[in-house]
C-alpha cells in the first residue's frame, strides 16, 4: 500500500508547491494607501517614500536570477517602475511578463552617491560579480550586460550626479507586499 501511495504524495506536494509561488491575496491594505500610476511615478514618488502604494502596469521584465524584481510599464516602455519582491512574495515568475498586474507595496528610495558608485565599480571589476549590486533598468538584455557596459553606466551616473548639483541621485522602486494579475 505504502509503495503505491508514496510517489503520489510526493507528486501532489510538488504540484501544490508550484501552484503556491506567485499571486497572493492583497493583505493589510492601509487606509492611507495611495494609488499611483507608472506614468506619474517619478513625479509622485518623492512625496510617498516609505508609504504604502498601489500601482498598476504591464510586466515588461522579471529578473531571471531568482525572480527578485520585475519592471512595470504602461503603454510605452520609456518609463519603467521597478518592483522588488518583499518578504511575503516568493518570486516574480517569468510567466508574468506581458500580464497586467496590480501591486500593493511600500515605496522605497535608493540613494546613489559617489561612495556607492565607487563600491559598485569595484564589484563590477571583480571576476565573480554580484548580480544584486547596482541599478537595474529592466531594459531588454540589461541582465546580460558585459563589464564595459556596466562601467559605462557607472560613468554616466557619475556625470548625472555631477550635473545634478546634489550629493546623491534618487532611484525609486516599490517593495511588493502582494500582487494580483488583472484580467
Amino acid at each position: 500500500m505504502t509503495n503505491k501511495v508514496l510517489p503520489f504524495i510526493i507528486l501532489m506536494m510538488i504540484i501544490l508547491a508550484s501552484c503556491n509561488n506567485g499571486t497572493k491575496e492583497e493583505v493589510a491594505v492601509k487606509a492611507d494607501t495611495t494609488l499611483i500610476t507608472v506614468l506619474n511615478f517619478e513625479k509622485q514618488a518623492d512625496s510617498l517614500i516609505d508609504k504604502p502604494v498601489f500601482i498598476e502596469g504591464t510586466v515588461l521584465h522579471t529578473c531571471k536570477h531568482g525572480g527578485k524584481r520585475m519592471f512595470l510599464v504602461d503603454g510605452t516602455d520609456s518609463i519603467r517602475v521597478e518592483i522588488t519582491a518583499g518578504p511575503t512574495i516568493a518570486k516574480f515568475d517569468e510567466s508574468l511578463i506581458g500580464s497586467r498586474v496590480r501591486v500593493l507595496g511600500t515605496l522605497k528610495e535608493e540613494r546613489i552617491d559617489t561612495k556607492y558608485l565607487n563600491e559598485w565599480e569595484a564589484e563590477v571589476k571583480k571576476p565573480e560579480e554580484n548580480h544584486q549590486v547596482g541599478i537595474h533598468s529592466g531594459a531588454k538584455g540589461h541582465e546580460d550586460q558585459g563589464m564595459q557596459e556596466k562601467l559605462d553606466q557607472i560613468k554616466a551616473l557619475r556625470e548625472e550626479l555631477k550635473n545634478s548639483g546634489k550629493d546623491h541621485l534618487s532611484f525609486f522602486s516599490v517593495e511588493g507586499i502582494s500582487f494580483t494579475i488583472l484580467k
Binding site: I10, I14, T76, D77, A90, D93, G98, R100
Partner: protein, 188 residues
C-alpha cells in the same frame, strides 16, 4: 563509560536514518544545483525555462504606426495570434508578449526575433526551493537539512572499520575531498 561498540552502533543508526531523511532534499539541491551552475556559467538563458529563438523578417507598420491590427497581422504570420497577451511599443521597436514567449520587432528594419519558451516543470520548483524564495519556515527547514548533512558527513567517517575505514583508505579519500576545493580556491 559507553563502550566503543555501542557508540558505533549509534553512529551507524544515525547515519542510516538521517541519510534516509535527507534523500529528497539532497536530490532537489543536487539537481537544481547543476541547473543553476550552468545557468550562472551562461550555458542557457533561464533556469526555469528552456528557450528557442527564431530570426525572421516581418512587414513594416504602415506610417510607422504600431497598433493592434499590425500586431495581429504579424502574429498571424507566425501562427501565434491565439497566444497573444499584450504588446509594448518602444522607440523603433515593439515587444509582443505571448503566452509561450515573445516577439521582438525592429519597426525600422522589419527584423524580428521570436522567442519560444517551455517551462521546466519540477526543476522550476526545485530552483524555487534552492533559492529559498519561500522564506519563512522553509529557512528553518533547510537549516535543519544542512545540519543533517553535517551529521551525515561526520557519522559517515566512522561507519566502516578496518583498512577501508577512516584510519586507512577512508583517510586518503577524505583528504582528497578536502584538498580538491582548497586547490580550486588557491589556483583560480
Amino acid at each position: 563509560m559507553i563502550r566503543r561498540k555501542t557508540l558505533r552502533r549509534w553512529n551507524n543508526a544515525l547515519h542510516r536514518d538521517i541519510g534516509y531523511l535527507c534523500v529528497g532534499m539532497t536530490l532537489i539541491y543536487a539537481i537544481s544545483g547543476i541547473v543553476l551552475n550552468h545557468f550562472k556559467a551562461g550555458d542557457f538563458q533561464h533556469p526555469d525555462y528552456s528557450k528557442s529563438f527564431t530570426n525572421l523578417t516581418v512587414p513594416l507598420p504602415k506610417n510607422g504606426n504600431v497598433d493592434q491590427q499590425y500586431v495581429f497581422s504579424v502574429l498571424d504570420r507566425v501562427d501565434s495570434r491565439g497566444n497573444y497577451k499584450s504588446h509594448v511599443p518602444g522607440e523603433g521597436y515593439v515587444q509582443i508578449f505571448l503566452k509561450n514567449g515573445s516577439l521582438y520587432i525592429d519597426t525600422r528594419s522589419g527584423e524580428a526575433q521570436l522567442e519560444k519558451k517551455t517551462t521546466r516543470y519540477i526543476i522550476k520548483e526545485f530552483n524555487l526551493l534552492h533559492y529559498n524564495n519561500l522564506k519563512k519556515f522553509y529557512t528553518w527547514f533547510s537549516d535543519i537539512y544542512a545540519a543533517g548533512l553535517i551529521i551525515l558527513a561526520i557519522t559517515g567517517l566512522f561507519v566502516i572499520r578496518g583498512k577501508n575505514g577512516i584510519i586507512g583508505r577512508g583517510a586518503w579519500l577524505t583528504a582528497i575531498g578536502i584538498l580538491l576545493p582548497a586547490l580550486f580556491l588557491i589556483l583560480m
